[in-house]
């Protein structure tokens, strides 16, 4: 076992009573992260303390047809300068006009159905310094036009202002052996650079027990297409690298269907590179799997869920960790007053025979506190 990481998150939510449909809410949290083994790089540490706050302001008028929403985020990390960061998660206005809805400002959007990897979900950049699971996202400037009709939902996006992915700093952990320098300028292998305006379209619908979506994205890939060295150590090895961002067209499909207590899921993307070294090349990726929930499995209130998802990519292993992998997870939900949940998961790579495991547990304490614990292992 190379790296073992534990994390503890303490969170409280501070709620204020609504004042004329305007309301403040949010949370502050304290976090401890500890590693059982010494770091590869002596600049890294074994324990990290950090604190974060996420205040939220919401105001609506005209019976909720118009609303204004702000979510700010800031984290201070003991060692990692890159993890000490802030973000405007949300700063947007939404207006409803009959069957149409317009959102303008900084916002977040989620697409897809899978649990262990979000392939089709491309609108928001990943805030990777927050957690290695990639579930945290940066706010994305957008104009979004939506309509929901009998024949399905259509969302059209204009996305100005590309957000670069966050990466752990020199003292951050876990991180790749070579530091990704996010202070240096990232490379855009096309002329418009960061000013490129991305476009996206999604159609989604459900028919009975079938739920499906088709999406198309044309713009800057959120995932760097490559990394290039910008500094070298005395031994000739790269001392720091910067990400290379490329233009892509990406078509995505996602769907799920229920068969009894089984939920079958599929997500697939086809990515076409429009710029840079890989211009003209394609990459196909998919995730297929199922989720099964055994309601009341101890004869009482608790549920036991199984998630199995297989990840495939036709690209080589360097480009994605999910190239030929099987993810399995067990979710135990107590359905108690404290909403206690435990998630246990394994990811195994059939090509490299590597494995990763994780445990996530959460429980409410009182009315305003939440205790979360995570354990991750890699080999």
């Amino acid at each position: 076992m190379k790296h073992v990481l534990t994390g503890f998150i303490l969170a409280t939510a501070l709620l204020q009573t609504p004042v004329i449909a305007a309301q403040w809410s949010g949370y502050v949290s304290g976090q401890y992260r500890g590693f059982f083994e010494d770091p590869v790089d002596p600049r890294q540490h074994n324990t990290y303390l950090s604190a974060a706050a996420e205040p939220e302001f919401y105001h609506s008028w005209q019976g909720g047809d118009h609303s204004f929403n702000t979510i700010l985020f800031y984290r201070v990390d003991q060692h990692d300068d890159n993890r000490t960061h802030g973000d405007i998660r949300e700063l947007s206005w939404t207006g409803v006009y009959d069957a149409f809805e317009v959102t303008a400002g900084i916002s977040k959007v989620f697409w897809g159905v899978a649990e262990t990897q979000h392939l089709v979900d491309i609108i928001n950049q990943t805030d990777l310094v927050e957690n290695v699971d990639g579930e945290d996202k940066l706010g994305q400037p957008m104009i979004k036009l939506s309509t929901e009709q009998d024949w399905g939902s259509v969302d059209f996006f204009v996305l100005p202002g590309f957000r670069e992915r966050t990466f752990p700093g020199v003292e951050g952990r876990p991180r790749p052996e070579v530091v990704v320098d996010t202070d240096a300028n990232a490379i855009y292998d096309f002329s418009a650079g960061q000013d490129h305006i991305d476009l996206a379209l999604r159609y989604s619908h459900y028919i009975g027990e079938w739920e499906f979506g088709l999406s198309y994205f044309s713009g800057i890939d959120r995932l760097p297409s490559d990394f290039v060295p910008i500094a070298f150590a005395p031994n000739g090895q790269p001392g720091a690298i910067v990400p290379v961002y490329s233009l892509i067209n990406q078509a995505g499909i996602d769907g799920q269907v229920f068969f009894g207590d089984w939920t079958w899921k599929l997500e697939a993307i086809n990515k076409e590179f429009r710029s840079g070294r890989r211009k003209g090349s394609h990459n196909f990726q998919s995730v297929v799997g199922f989720e099964y929930t055994w309601v009341g499995f101890t004869g009482a209130a608790s549920d036991l869920g199984f998630v199995v998802e297989y990840h495939y990519s036709d690209a080589n292993t360097r480009e994605t960790i999910f190239n030929n992998d099987l993810a399995t997870a067990l979710r135990y939900v107590l359905n108690d007053a404290q909403s206690t949940e435990v998630l246990l998961g394994f990811l195994t790579d059939a090509d490299t025979h590597t494995a990763a495991g994780f445990i996530e547990a959460s429980r409410r304490i009182g009315q305003n506190w939440m205790l979360e614990a995570e354990l991750r292992t890699y080999n």
Binding site: A11, T12, A13, L14, L15, S25, Y27, Y58, S60, G64, S67, T94, V96, D98, A99, E101, K108, V109, F110, V113, E135, S146, E148, S153, Y206, E209, E211, Q256, F258, G260, D261, W262, T263, E291, T293, V295, G296, A300, A301, D303, N335, D336, A337, Q338, S339, R364, Q367, N368, M370
Partner: protein, 264 residues
């Protein structure tokens, strides 16, 4: 005279037939008739909104509170549409459920998770699981459609001074967590006063009692309090309803996935 005799005897025969048909009304028919009348008396409310406080209590008396806002749209000929929005506890604030309930086929249900801004379709085949850790199962809080049960009239009984019909209800839904429920229906108003639930093994499981009924729009009775006691675990849950409003003008557009994401 003859004619009168004929008429009289015809009337007598008709009366006999009528009384025969009354006595021939089976317990099942009478049970169904009571359920139909109760259903009819709640028809036409169009839509409603209400605020609900859910108090969970364990055997030791520890309590935990949830605040939920509920919007309901009446659907004629099918189960109602509803949206439940959570305000407390703080960690589930903004979480919302959209449900299109159906009598016999599984409900369509979506869950909105505000932290991820994710709308997740829920496999709602199994409605017997607890709703938010409470003693209420999903099927208990779902809209009560006539076709969800078959019925049997048991007896008349006075419950806390209220003249009631006692009817037994057998879930038609194959994934129900109950073999039967026994309901005390107020004879004057055709509203439930008490329901006793029997689990899949036909053992006594829970008792639901209704209190603080109020009439809205001179027609619709809604309980101010619903208390569910689990006899097997000793836990209980009380729902306290406030701020009922009817015919607020909600329509189908207020019950779709986009409105679920906007729900606050």
């Amino acid at each position: 005279m003859n004619r009168n005799i004929i008429q009289t005897s015809a009337a007598a025969i008709a009366l006999c037939l009528l009384s025969f048909s009354i006595s021939a009304e089976t317990a099942e028919e009478k049970g169904l008739a009571i359920a139909i009348e109760a259903d009819k008396r709640d028809e036409g409310f169009a839509d409603s909104t209400a605020n609900m406080t859910m108090e969970l209590r364990n055997k030791q008396g520890d309590t935990s509170i949830r605040y939920i806002r509920i919007r309901t749209l009446e659907v004629i000929g099918d189960g109602d549409k509803s949206m439940s929005i959570f305000d407390k506890p703080a960690d589930v604030k903004g979480t919302a459920f959209l449900t299109f309930s159906h009598a016999i086929k599984p409900d369509e249900q979506w869950l909105y998770l505000p932290a991820l801004k994710r709308v997740k379709r829920i496999n709602s085949k199994n409605k017997s699981g607890p709703f938010m850790g409470s003693e209420f199962a999903y099927e208990d809080i779902a809209s009560q459609e006539l076709e969800k049960y078959s019925y049997k009239y048991l007896r008349d009984e006075t419950l806390n001074g209220i003249d009631s019909f006692v009817i037994e209800r057998y879930p038609a839904y194959e994934h129900s967590g109950y073999t039967r429920t026994v309901a005390w229906i107020n004879k004057a108003e055709y509203r439930p006063e008490k329901i006793v639930f029997y689990d899949r093994k036909n053992s006594l499981l829970k008792t639901l009692t209704y209190d603080g009924y109020q009439q809205y729009l001179d027609k619709y009775w809604r309980a101010g309090q619903m208390n569910m006691e689990n006899h097997q675990t000793g836990k209980s849950t009380t729902l306290a309803w406030k701020d009922y409003q009817f015919k607020t003008g909600l329509d189908d557009k207020d019950f779709n996935k986009n409105s679920l994401k906007r729900a606050r």
